[in-house]
């Protein structure tokens, strides 16, 4: 399972062994898989782009009329859901980083012979369907339950209410519950790449820093954290991208006031059957994420990683 996370953004292209066997062999090897991706991944994108500029109705059929107003209408009607997606996914990503870093650090440097066991415990929940686990949060965050009671006594709920994340004595059906669910669901995708990049750090660098009288905090700030940047970048991407498109947490743990853009796309596509609007929304989401990812990768200076 670790390969999910260490692989995608971190697949370094090494110089290829220049070996010439059959001239056509590579093309034959590539053909079936690449055709599959072209037909079922790339072509659907084109169909979707075309659907988004069509007009018509379900009964009379749709025609391409280059009706770009659909984009404008979709944005002006559903911008709150877009903003919410970015806000919730962003908060979940930051929480994942804050929670996931100590765990990854623990596995990489402090776990000793427990390392494998902790690793298994991080990955094993994957095998209990994530929907079942998300439903368990309904029990954990239930009204009047021990968790809500504790948060109330500690006045945490006062703070979150002030931030607009909760209302009154409830956690369930509030933005806080959705962010909590998103954080929980995508935390392993943060921990695993962080662990991979922390584990690669040469321990002698820590020793050297210590020998040069660096305080533990300085060692972390000047040595460990900068060297773990590839993990931070791929971890945040692997958390933010799926979280921004998610509609499961908002649906199961939230309310109608926590609907994200994924929920809108799902209802438009599967219940209201307004295909052009749904296609336009999905296209905007895709474009927004690609732009954000590109800018983010440029700014964090790890372009060569992708």
């Amino acid at each position: 399972m670790a390969t999910v996370t260490e692989a995608p953004p971190l697949a370094p292209e090494q110089p290829k062994p220049p070996r010439k066997r059959g001239r056509w062999t590579p093309y034959w090897l590539l053909l079936p898989g690449i055709l599959w991706l072209l037909i079922f991944f790339a072509m659907p994108m084109i169909y979707q782009a075309s659907t988004s500029v069509q007009t018509g109705s379900l009964e009379e059929g749709y025609k391409v009329t280059w009706h770009f107003a659909t984009y404008w209408d979709a944005l002006s009607e559903y911008y709150p859901q877009f903003l919410r997606s970015v806000l919730y996914a962003g908060s979940a990503t930051i929480l994942c980083l804050l929670l996931g870093y100590p765990l990854a650090y623990l596995i990489a440097f402090r776990a000793g012979r427990w390392r494998n066991l902790i690793m298994i415990l991080v990955i094993a929940p994957f095998f209990t369907s994530f929907l079942i686990r998300t439903l368990a949060w309904k029990t954990i965050l239930a009204d009047g339950g021990p968790v809500v009671g504790a948060l109330n006594t500690l006045h945490v709920l006062d703070v979150t209410t002030w931030l607009g994340m909760t209302e009154g004595d409830r956690v369930l059906a509030t933005p806080l519950a959705v962010v909590c669910g998103l954080t929980y669901n995508f935390l392993p995708f943060m921990v695993l790449p962080l662990y991979t990049s922390l584990e690669r750090i040469d321990p002698r660098l820590h020793e050297a820093a210590n020998d040069l009288y660096a305080k533990p905090t300085t060692v972390f700030r000047r040595v460990t954290f900068p060297l773990s940047m590839p993990g931070v970048v791929s971890g945040t991407l692997l958390t933010f991208i799926p979280a921004a498109g998610d509609y499961v947490n908002a649906d199961l743990l939230g309310s109608t006031d926590t609907r994200m853009v994924g929920n809108v796309i799902q209802t438009q596509f599967l219940r209201i059957l307004d295909y052009p609007t749904a296609a336009a929304l999905s296209f905007i989401l895709m474009a927004a994420i690609l732009v954000m990812v590109t800018v983010y990768i440029r700014r964090s200076g790890t372009e060569d990683l992708v």
């Binding site: 399972m1 390969t3 999910v4 260490e6 995608p8 953004p9 697949a11 292209e13 290829k16 220049p18 590579p26 090897l29 079936p32 898989g33 991706l37 072209l38 079922f40 991944f41 790339a42 659907p44 169909y47 979707q48 659907t51 100590p102 650090y105 623990l106 402090r110 298994i120 415990l121 991080v122 094993a124 929940p125 095998f127 209990t128 369907s129 994530f130 929907l131 079942i132 998300t134 439903l135 368990a136 029990t139 935390l187 991407l237 991208i241 498109g245 998610d246 499961v248 199961l252 994924g262 799902q266 596509f269 599967l270 295909y275 749904a278 999905s282 989401l285 895709m286 994420i289 990812v293």
Partner: protein, 266 residues
């Protein structure tokens, strides 16, 4: 003072263990509530201890049917994605060819795309082609999104392979086919196995893409989703707990076996 020092030194361990318990808490709840005897249709509040659901795991109509659909889908999706993905991985590592950049981005993009976007656009394609939604459209979708993960898993392994091993086999008069079967494949096997396991897990647990492209076919995650609206049977927790335990046992067993092998070699 010593307590404060101890806390200071082990702060990261304590924080890490807290995160770990946050990750495991839902699994504990799922397990506990598999022994619940709920009053209403929903299994969210603890009532009383009961082993009824464990004695009759298929007692809910359609649930075990959906489980078998999911297992079949995961099985075929794993075979399809592993086969196609391994071929691509070998081509990428072992050969020079044109349009390598385009191939790489075509493999990277599905992993960087929100699932809902892929799901919606694939549904657009199927609707435009007039395809009948069901088992086959789900299978097509699963192979599509598992493929990239298999490629990255296998590629990592093949890249770290020593090419001299194959040269040695050829020097010893092994033909290309023999070299591939007797030398290359066994060395690449752990990467292929990792990719296949990943594909199985991804396909078995997929909800969003399946939800869009399933038609009236019901997979296990879709059954759980539907039951969140209609009423959650305790049997769902039984299945969830059983899968967790099986996965942990499976991993532990494979670790014990590989440890033993390493000891024998040493």
């Amino acid at each position: 003072m010593t307590v404060v020092n101890w806390l200071k030194r082990n702060l990261v361990v304590i924080a890490g263990l807290l995160t770990l318990s946050y990750l495991l808490l839902p699994n504990v709840i799922v397990t506990i509530f598999s022994f619940n005897n709920p009053k209403g249709r929903f299994n969210y509040e603890w009532q009383e201890f009961s082993t009824a659901a464990w004695k009759d795991p298929c007692g809910v109509s359609d649930m075990c049917g959906s489980l078998s659909v999911s297992l079949q889908l995961a099985f075929w999706a794993t075979i399809g994605a592993t086969l196609l993905g391994t071929m691509i991985a070998f081509a990428l590592v072992r050969y020079r060819f044109r349009a390598r950049g385009a191939v790489n981005s075509l493999i990277f993009l599905p992993m960087a795309m929100p699932e809902v976007v892929m799901a919606a656009s694939l549904l657009t394609l199927f609707l435009n082609l007039g395809a009948q939604l069901g088992f086959w459209t789900i299978l097509i979708a699963h192979i599509m999104f598992c493929l990239s993960f298999v490629v990255t898993a296998v590629k990592a392994r093949v890249m770290s392979m020593d090419p001299r091993l194959e040269q040695a086999a050829q020097d010893l008069y092994a033909g290309p086919v023999q070299t591939f079967i007797r030398v290359t494949l066994p060395i690449a096997a752990p990467g292929i196995a990792a990719g296949a396991l990943l594909a199985f897990a991804l396909s078995f647990d997929d909800f969003i893409i399946t939800n869009f492209n399933a038609g009236s076919t019901v997979t296990f995650p879709m059954f759980v989703w539907g039951s969140a609206q209609r009423g959650t049977p305790v049997q769902i927790n039984v299945i969830g707990t059983a899968m967790f335990v099986i996965a942990v046992l499976f991993v532990l067993a494979s670790m014990v076996i590989s440890n033993r092998r390493n000891k024998q070699k040493a």
